[in-house]
Amino acid sequence: MNRELYPFPGGLQIPPHKELSNAKTSLITPLPDSIILPLQQHIGTPAVPLVKTGDKVLKGQIIARADGYVSVPVHASTSGKIIDIGNYTVPDPLGLKAPCIVIEPDGDDVWFEIKPTHDYASIDPKDLQDVIREAGIVGLGGAGFPAHVKLREGTESAVDTLIINAVECEPFISCDDRLIREKPGYIVNGTRMIRHAIQAKYCVIALEADMPEAYAALKELIDDDIDLIQLPVKYPQGGERQLIKVLTGMEVPSGGLPIHMGIVMHNAATAAAAYRAVIRGEPLISRYVTVSGEVNDPRNLQVLLGTPVKHCADQCGYEDKEGQAIILGGPMMGMYVNNMHMPVIKTTNCVLVTSTYNKSPEMPCIRCGQCVDVCPEKLLPQQLFWHAHAKNYDRLREYHLFDCIECGCCSFVCPSNIRLVQYYRKAKRQITQDEQTRSGADHARERFIARNARLAREEQTQNNELLAGSDIGELDKQAFIQAAVERTRAKRAQLGKQENSDDDQE
């Protein structure tokens, strides 16, 4: 179908390097020696463990429950024994450790009892959200925002357009491409299901022109109900605000949300996972991951969540060489990590091994304006840099620092090699922290006490409920409380550490 497109401002043409990995069928990764499942793999509150060391768990069983509304549970990715609940290295730019549940697989891969639903249309949209939430589904494209929150927003207000984002604009990454080619039915039916859940009038699946096979695969399955749109390749077209602009011509107001304009956007992989969760009753326990760059056999893998990154890289002929950097995610927005012990989590879309990362020294800004030309948010990256450097936080707000999507276009083109995005991240963190401090110590203490009381209450009731009607077995109240204390401590330690490593940087 022909649809008018509205190019977004700025952006870049970057060599895509997708051909390295997108032609090969994905491989099912063999079971690793241990599965490490962080309690937080999403944006929001970390999940709370429901198991203790020594427990036997089955594949797909909930091992940590959601805590609060913006939170999702964690499921065991395979059957086995819980060997530890403690702090392990997680995917984090600062190399932090965070609470994880570690499973030693028994090799049998036995499923927990699952409840397939054969017809999603028979389910009330509101209940559908709960199913999706219980399946632990979060946005698989990047940030990992719990999917049910967006769905609920969708059911509460009138939705005009549902956009399924299959634009994989970052170089090297081809996991969505592979997923679509191998399981187009999941994507199309998932799209229809989400549409049913939020009652959207129009529905669009958007992908870039460099995915012709995926396009053809989808084309075969859709009728007139869904618009399938191919977009010219341009980075960062997969950004939410950018894609909305391209497809509708509308700009999401600075600080606003797409839902206010009647638009809901989900990633293609998220739609597939949601469909699988409803129709087959299988929670989110695996995902497609691209392993690419300087490995002998770059390709896509189907990976159980919690599998160590090293194990994935080994499947693709990874050899440790001097001068290589490991990046989780794409080269433009991914995070550099200095080891491979951390697990693949819900948001890990790519493991990139590269030695051509930017190593040149930073020079002073020459005001060339290249960064201004490529900024998709039409910011003035160079002015932002100037004010971030001078720690002039009021001016940073005035220059819309918080509209920056950290796409990295500005840093990419800067002839002076300034790590612009790094300055913005730091300034954003600083401003957020300052605000929290400013809100007053007394107020904070009050809230802290109230929160503790509430948590204790919640945990109590939850325990009682679970003890009453669950087949998970005897639950240790002490372990719960211990975990809560641990969590608070870890969070505090994390904050402290973050500050420290910020200082190291200077």
Partner: protein, 348 residues
């Protein structure tokens, strides 16, 4: 795992375009070369000598300042910016300029205009123009006598004569007057004040086929170099186009009004420093406005001021003054031309 520096946090993006300050400056230097060679063809080897001297002085002054400011020498000295400043400065000078004038200008450009303002990226005024205006004000006589372009006289200064003029001053040469004269613009100016009409002035041998003798072809060389820079995406098209457009329109306006005393647009564009300025001077990013709309205002300002100074002041050419004047208002322009952010709703 290999040993990686644990304290360094490498921040995304990890990819970088093939570009650096050095990459940009090298391309600017390449684009200047045809014009420099053509200038040497028309005005003698003095052009090359001035350029070499300026580059030498500039690198020395740069090294000294980097040393004093405790900056990494290798990194900054070879970023190419000092060489570009030196070449642009040298190209404004008469090939007969004494060595001490060249030296003074470069020192002012590099030490005062560049490093005392904080070095590359921080300088408010275009260093080459600041250096040029400084020597123009200090040594006015030395700046206005140019060699006659090739094709006007058979009497060309020999290399030895040129060296002696540069290193000991013009007074050392008896026949200096026969080897030198005013520039096309300077001559036009003096003739106009002598109540001559443009049509009469146009008949002077100082004029070539469509503008100044020799200088018209040099201007064409700058134009070609500039177009190459545009193709290489080193400079942005908006700046040259709006600048040339401004000068063209305003000269056309006055030319229509009275063609006997105002130069035609083509003559205006192809004489003096306009073409060099269009692609190499006003496009200097450091001293130009940083916002898209600001850059346009900036170049229009330079265009208008250049024409005004050229036409109604005592100076035959006005580009350098115009650039410096507009440099001074850049912070103001930047502040008022902040673009609308994506999704931002403008009030009022």
């Amino acid at each position: 795992m290999m040993t990686r520096n644990e304290t360094v946090i490498i921040s995304s993006p990890h990819l970088h375009a093939v570009t650096s300050i050095n990459h940009v400056m090298t391309r600017v230097i390449y684009a200047l070369i045809p014009g420099i060679l053509l200038s040497a063809w028309f005005f003698g080897s003095g052009v090359l000598i001035q350029s070499l001297l300026a580059v030498l002085f500039a690198l020395c002054a740069e090294a000294l300042m980097l040393y004093l400011r405790e900056k990494p020498l290798r990194l900054f000295l070879f970023d190419g910016s000092a060489v570009v400043t030196a070449l642009l400065f040298a190209l404004c000078l008469s090939p007969y300029t004494p060595v001490w004038v060249n030296f003074t200008g470069i020192c002012f450009a590099i030490i005062v205009a560049k490093h005392l303002y904080g070095g590359i990226g921080y300088n408010m005024f275009n260093p080459a123009m600041a250096g040029y205006v400084f020597v123009l004000l200090c040594f006015p006589v030395n700046m206005t006598t140019w060699p006659l372009p090739a094709g006007i006289t058979d009497q060309q200064a020999t290399l030895l004569q040129i060296l002696s003029i540069i290193f000991t001053g013009p007074s050392s040469l008896e026949n200096f007057d026969s080897l030198s004269g005013a520039t096309t613009l300077g001559w036009t100016k003096s003739q106009l004040s002598g109540m001559f009409m443009i049509t009469e002035i146009r008949n002077s041998p100082l004029f070539g086929s469509f503008a100044g003798k020799g200088t018209e072809w040099i201007a064409v060389a700058w134009l070609c170099g500039g177009i190459w820079l545009l193709i290489q995406r080193i400079i942005k098209w908006e700046m040259p186009v709006f600048f040339i457009g401004t000068v063209f329109l305003i000269s056309l306006l006055f030319y229509w009004y009275d063609s006997s005393i105002y130069l035609s647009p083509v003559l205006t564009l192809f004489t003096g420093g306009i073409m060099l300025a269009t692609f190499f001077i006003i496009t200097d990013p450091v001293t130009a406005s940083a916002t898209p709309r600001g850059r346009i205002i900036y170049v229009i300002g330079i265009g208008l001021l250049t024409y005004i100074i050229r036409t109604w002041s005592a100076y035959p050419d006005g580009v350098a003054f115009a650039v410096l004047l507009m440099n001074a208002v850049v912070p103001l322009v930047d502040n008022y031309t902040r673009p609308r952010v994506f999704g931002e709703i403008k009030h009022g």
